[in-house]
Symmetry: C2
Subunit: 528 residues, 2 copies
């Protein structure tokens, strides 16, 4: 069936004897099934058979969803995306409506409900339909953010583009589907709705009331999610939110995540001369903003990658004993991932990835000043820009964390402004930086011993033979704080492959992950 794309932990040794035993058991089971003997299909098997029989229509529908642009700036396309999802829900018999924000022009939440007679609990299934910004020029040849394409594997590792399957053809689980949002997070929308569809079509009744909540501003920092959630407090009453976003573990093992880091972006623009200057006639006299920016950024982290901003690691609420124990059980694939990613030394002074995602971070998302490569000219640029990304853990406050960064910048001798510098400011301050913090939010964590959470872990475990990884927190961020405001509890159950290029060019989903995700969501819907 082709090599698996998953990384295998060193701890899971391959045993030829066990494999042989398993193969005989499978043959025996198939013989009994063909003969009409054996136990009736489990719900899990029914869901899988339904998906296997419907790969063409499911993929066709998913590719139509992916073909609608979903970046923040393109609000018209975001509305089309919302309408398309509402249509998907209605086709599945889900009562559907759009929940607008009080602020005009905001992409609406697509909301839906299915009441289960006799159910005692209610679960909300969350995903977001907006995606990160795109720069189409950076995508690999033949790929484009909103022209979904199948490939035989990761194109970065020689995967070839494939035509769409025909009726009667099956996909290979290691194939990739390329498009912005294919993993982050239209995959969540698709896994949830296809999971529900598979249940209904297989005549399996959900065990709980279901609510569906698809957001359109997550990648923008969910600036209006609070308005929508608080304006629909009664409608959204629930026992638990299932957040379907992010990747499963790098080992390919399914994962339940109890919290998420907070996040805030800060744009920086350093100013030089008003107009670009000839680097020969004025170089090393007129100040170079690219150099000043480099000096500023270099001052923010030491050579081991530790953030050197004063107080950056203060405020952190330590992990509980239960969380520390769970963290110790998370497989450590650092060496294997590092080799795959092709770098010789990780940041973090020897701490592992699992530990580091439980700490606040500072990352440079991008740099820009004038031009490089073939477009470079011999100039002193007028400005130099960077985008910072600060991830926050429990105890950090996004505004306080930004304030620490601003204070650090001031200590480096910069005048900090939030506007274009005035003539008076230019005349007065040798180093000027414009700081543009975006909307941020804080981290949240759900206690790992919450009974309903334990039931979710058990339901997910029923869909897989490998252990479900339990993470105290995700390295990525989710607007969980908003749900907390209406007293909701959240649990994240991701479906995407870890090597999905999410947030970047060539975003993709491994088809096996989408199919597994459908089974995961259907299993959770069967909780009583």
């Amino acid at each position: 069936m082709g090599g698996t794309a998953y990384l295998t932990s060193d701890r899971v040794a391959y045993s030829p004897a066990a494999a042989m035993k398993k193969r005989y058991a499978t043959i025996l089971f198939l013989l009994l099934a063909v003969a009409g003997f054996g136990p009736p299909d489990s719900a899990q098997q029914k869901v899988r058979r339904y998906r296997q029989a419907h790969e063409l229509p499911l993929l066709t529908e998913y590719m139509a969803l992916l073909a609608i642009p979903n970046v923040a700036a393109d609000t018209a396309s975001l509305r089309r995306t919302a309408s398309f999802i509402a249509g998907m829900m209605r086709q599945r018999g889900i009562q559907t409506r759009l929940l607008p924000a009080a602020t005009p022009g905001v992409p609406p939440v697509v909301y839906g409900e299915v009441r289960t007679p006799g159910a005692r609990r209610t679960l909300v299934f969350y995903a977001h339909y907006d995606g990160q910004p795109v720069n189409a020029a950076q995508w690999a040849p033949g790929l484009s953010p909103f022209q979904p394409r199948l490939a035989s594997g990761p194109v970065s590792q020689g995967g070839q583009l494939l035509p769409m399957i025909k009726a009667g053809e099956a996909t290979n689980p290691d194939w990739r589907l390329y498009a912005r949002g294919s993993s982050d997070d239209k995959a969540g929308v698709m896994a949830i709705l296809a999971g529900y569809e598979a249940l209904v079509q297989s005549r399996i009744k959900p065990g709980v009331n279901l609510k569906f909540f698809f957001e359109g501003e997550e990648e923008k920092g969910s600036p209006h999610l609070g308005e929508i959630v608080e304006g629909n407090r009664a409608l959204l009453a629930s026992d638990l939110w299932i957040i379907c976003d992010g990747p499963v573990h790098q080992s390919g093992q399914k994962q339940v995540v109890f919290g998420a880091r907070g996040d805030v972006n800060v744009g920086l623009t350093v100013y030089g001369s008003r107009r670009p200057l000839h680097s020969g006639h004025y170089g090393n006299w007129a100040p170079n903003p690219a150099l000043a920016l480099a000096q500023l950024l270099a001052s923010m982290k030491d050579s081991t990658g530790r953030v050197s901003i004063a107080g950056f690691y203060d405020d952190v609420v330590p992990l509980t004993a239960l969380e520390r124990a769970a963290l110790a059980r998370v497989p450590n694939l650092d060496a294997t991932i590092q080799q795959e990613l092709g770098f010789a030394r990780a940041e973090g002074s020897g701490q592992g990835l699992n530990e580091l995602i439980n700490q606040p971070s500072l990352n440079i998302n991008g740099l820009r000043s004038a031009n490089v490569g073939a477009q470079a000219a011999n100039v002193i640029p007028t400005t130099a820009e960077a985008m910072l990304d600060l991830r926050l853990v429990l105890g950090n406050d996004s505004e306080r964390q930004v304030a620490k960064v601003v204070q650090h910048i001031q200590r480096q001798g910069f005048f900090v402004t939030t506007d274009e510098p005035t003539a008076a400011e230019r005349a007065r301050y040798p180093r000027i930086v414009r700081v543009a913090p975006q909307t941020g939010y804080n981290a949240e964590r759900t206690p790992m011993d919450l009974p309903l959470a334990r039931e979710v872990v058990a339901a997910v475990q029923r869909t897989t033979t490998r252990p479900v990884v339990q993470q105290p927190t995700s390295g990525g961020s989710l607007p969980l704080h908003v749900f907390k405001k209406i007293g909701a509890t959240t649990l994240t159950v991701p479906v995407a492959n870890y090597d999905n290029n999410q947030h970047a060019e060539n975003e993709n989903i491994r088809l096996g992950n989408l199919w597994d995700g459908i089974e995961t969501m259907a299993a959770i819907m069967q909780l009583k």
Copy 2:
């Protein structure tokens, strides 16, 4: 007549009495001229009157020249540019031919000759018709690199776009003409050819044999100029090359420059992971190449802007007593320019611009890593790039200067390669940078007491009432070393305004400078 765009030195005080006296003298002169009395027109006056009477055809021709793209990558357009210039020369009765390089595919030199009966000396007039790379998106609204447009002044200071003049209309000398190459250096081509035209049409005979030499690879570092010059050694025999490139002094005073700095560009690419990563899931574990690049660049200069690379200021040949004396006479407008450019502190530990351009320099021309602003995504970039520009003075060698930079990079713990890093290199070296030095060349200086050079200064002085500034060297660079190889002597006589945005977006020429340049070139052609 509109405010002048020139900066005025503090030393030149405005005197109302002197201005009144001058005004009366002008009126008297005009009255005499109208009455048919007075001395016959000087050659200088005839050249000016010719230009004044032909602004429309001169501008029309120049704008047609500017409309042909001239960036290095677009060799087809460079050939069109060369043909167009050859046509301009033939129309003026100049014997013209293209001089190809031995290497195929190189934009040819456009060469021309005018023999002056009885002349004892020969001058070659040099300009280049290629331009720096462009990024059209960075130009101001309404402007485009190859759609020349007139404006009432600098668009950055509120200058308005103007329609082309009609027959009978005159231009204002403070108007600007916007296009790539309008100053650097199609202005040189135009000033030389229009200067010659004005002489011929005014029936003034040149005093020397004239040769015209227009290059098409100067902004690329003139990689094939040596081939062409050495392959045409006899054809190019001369007493002096007049290099018409660069800006006049910031005061607006005309300028003769005896040398030029050398130049070499070095591209840097720092590598991170093979694929872009989610900044939440991997940030502060996977190394960030933007941070590594910032740390590397920050290490290259101290907080005063002095280059901290070991040995960077070694090798420099000191200025002669004559050069030091000339430098001391160059007007110092630092404070005024600094105010106009809008920065509070210059680099260079208190040394002035005139001193600093006589030292080697290191400038960051551009930075790029992933995206910033609205396109920024929460990623760890895979690479971070910078382009360095090293300017060289007499004594520096371009390869030796690059070697010092490379050694510095290695001392910062980087593995330096000239190719994409291999898997083995990625696995072995924590910090990897790809270094791509471009073709560079060294500085040259002509002795300031050379008799023919003194004659050129005197000829230029005859076209202006303000003192001609004499610079030992130009901050910018010119491939003078190539001419030196065939024993030629060079002198640079620029025409462009200093605030021309040369090398950047919104490049422009002040029309008064183009008109003055025509007079300057015509005056030099009259040397005996």
